[in-house]
Symmetry: C2
């Protein structure tokens, strides 16, 4: 296959439809809404959002395909010779903020960037990026192992990359001001060109297709668990950390806000509700303390044996 | 008076006590809590926070006095010759997030920075900074005019500076990604040395002493107004914008997070609860739309005549 936007664009649109349909099914009541909007030069933005569902408080599955005639110099510091060339970028980005505190928040992003006009592949500059990561409130070892096992399976046919992508994810989804990971991680990669276009696209497709097998079983197992005010309050408190990461740490969000892209789409990943409680500390050995002590630290989850029964 | 930390430190500590007492009184039920903590070389951090009060959902009045033996080069890009010298910084920072959506959120910060050892004043580098600003949800013209009138009075004995400080405030408390002011402003200044140390300290003292006369009457007038779910939902939505500003825009917060200061204090200004609703737009001509159309734009509030009766 020669390097080109079309197979990537099609993959991302298909993933959007597939994931949205399954999430609506998991919710059981709510519907995704959102208008496709034309972007300059034939681009497309299609944000699809479900709010206030039965099991999902907010989910956003966003597709974009941006086309530009001349790459701004600021966008390509590392490759100044690309400035002024035509470019395209396409991405799918999704977030699920469930209602039940026993269901983790999940996030996935896949993206492709291409600079240059059609011509011999060697004249084109391109790379992929993306991954998925999980942010539980009341985690179960079984769920986290399943999440990482599925991430491992997404990577396996595409080289021995899981460990590297897992470590990337741990480094990236990290709040330096809290000295704390955002969640239990997953896989993350950027500037990805390894093995060439076909191999990279195959890895990206595999990651995209493993999102639902990674997440849906966890969602289904936990969405019916009873919960009360205490669990909800803790989830809202932890969602404050999520907002801190997205607004104060995440490079993608910062770039999106500075680039003048649609702000509602850039900030679609923010939690529908969040809390900040000054000086909150969980009671030692409580389930809330367990999140930090047992889960919010980089671990090799493939080797964790679930002895606890939780 | 010769340049020195002591009169500033004393002013800020006195303001902390006075403002905290009045806020506790306005709340009627809650109490401020917080432990004074020694900082290296004789410094002091004293965060005082009231949470979950009757009329105040969260208020924080923070005092800090930091002492350093050697100014890091990164802290003084503009004055490289100051690197390595001893320094002191003292500040009072306060935020009030009321419960009633008809009571605006108020913020004040005053700070002083001093570099150099004791010696002739001309060898010392120092400046003041600070101001106060107001963020209403359901604003009343009368309140905003009173707020700015009091800010004007705070400045008046100290030179013709209100207009400049008001313009600074409008520029600083602004969300570029929303193309929207954070609130209705107030006064703001930085790197302030005008008229020398005594004159600058007098201005800062005047600003500090005018905070309660600016805010308390508004609080008292509005805290007993009835409100319901609609007003609360809108307040929480607008508080999301407040969190966006503090986490993604505010230079002070960014510096605080990067400098490794106590993260709970740096983020004490975050709202106790906030919401993000994708694609929310107020109904045209509703009270919620009025906030944006009539209040969230720079206006010369001293010249606004309250004809509306609201």
């Amino acid at each position: 296959m020669s390097v080109g936007i079309e197979p990537v664009r099609q993959l991302f649109r298909d993933l959007q439809d597939e994931i949205e349909a399954r999430l609506a099914d998991l919710d059981g009541e709510g519907a995704f809404e959102g208008q496709a909007t034309s972007l300059p030069h034939g681009g497309l933005s299609w944000p699809r959002v479900l709010q206030d569902g039965a099991n999902i408080e907010k989910a956003a599955v966003l597709f974009t395909h941006a086309i530009g005639l001349s790459l701004p110099a600021a966008a390509t510091d590392r490759n100044p010779h690309l400035a002024g060339q035509p470019f395209q970028a396409t991405a799918i980005s999704l977030i699920v903020h469930p209602r039940n505190p026993y269901v983790p928040t999940a996030h996935m992003n896949l993206r492709f960037f291409l600079v240059g006009s059609t011509g011999p592949d060697r004249d084109l500059h391109w790379h992929f990026g993306g991954g998925f990561d999980l942010t539980p409130y009341y985690p179960f070892t079984e769920d986290v192992v399943h999440w990482h096992q599925t991430a491992y399976e997404a990577c396996r046919p595409h080289g021995d990359v899981y460990a590297r992508l897992k470590a990337n994810c741990d480094s990236y989804f990290y709040l330096p001001h809290r000295n704390e990971p955002r969640g239990v991680g997953g896989i993350f990669f950027d500037d990805w060109i390894e093995g060439g276009f076909d191999a990279s696209l195959a890895l990206v497709a595999s990651v995209g297709k493993h999102f639902l097998p990674a997440y849906a079983p966890i969602f289904e197992r936990r969405a019916k668990m009873p919960w009360g005010e205490r669990e909800e309050a803790f989830m809202l408190f932890r969602r404050g950390r999520y907002a801190e990461f997205n607004l104060a740490v995440d490079r993608g969000t910062r770039y999106g806000l500075q680039s003048g892209r649609n702000v509602e789409s850039v900030l679609a990943s923010l939690p529908p509700r969040a809390r900040w409680t000054y000086g909150y500390k969980p009671t030692p050995d409580s389930p809330e303390a367990t999140l930090t002590s047992r889960f919010l630290r980089p671990r090799d989850w493939l080797k964790v044996v679930d002895k606890s029964g939780d």
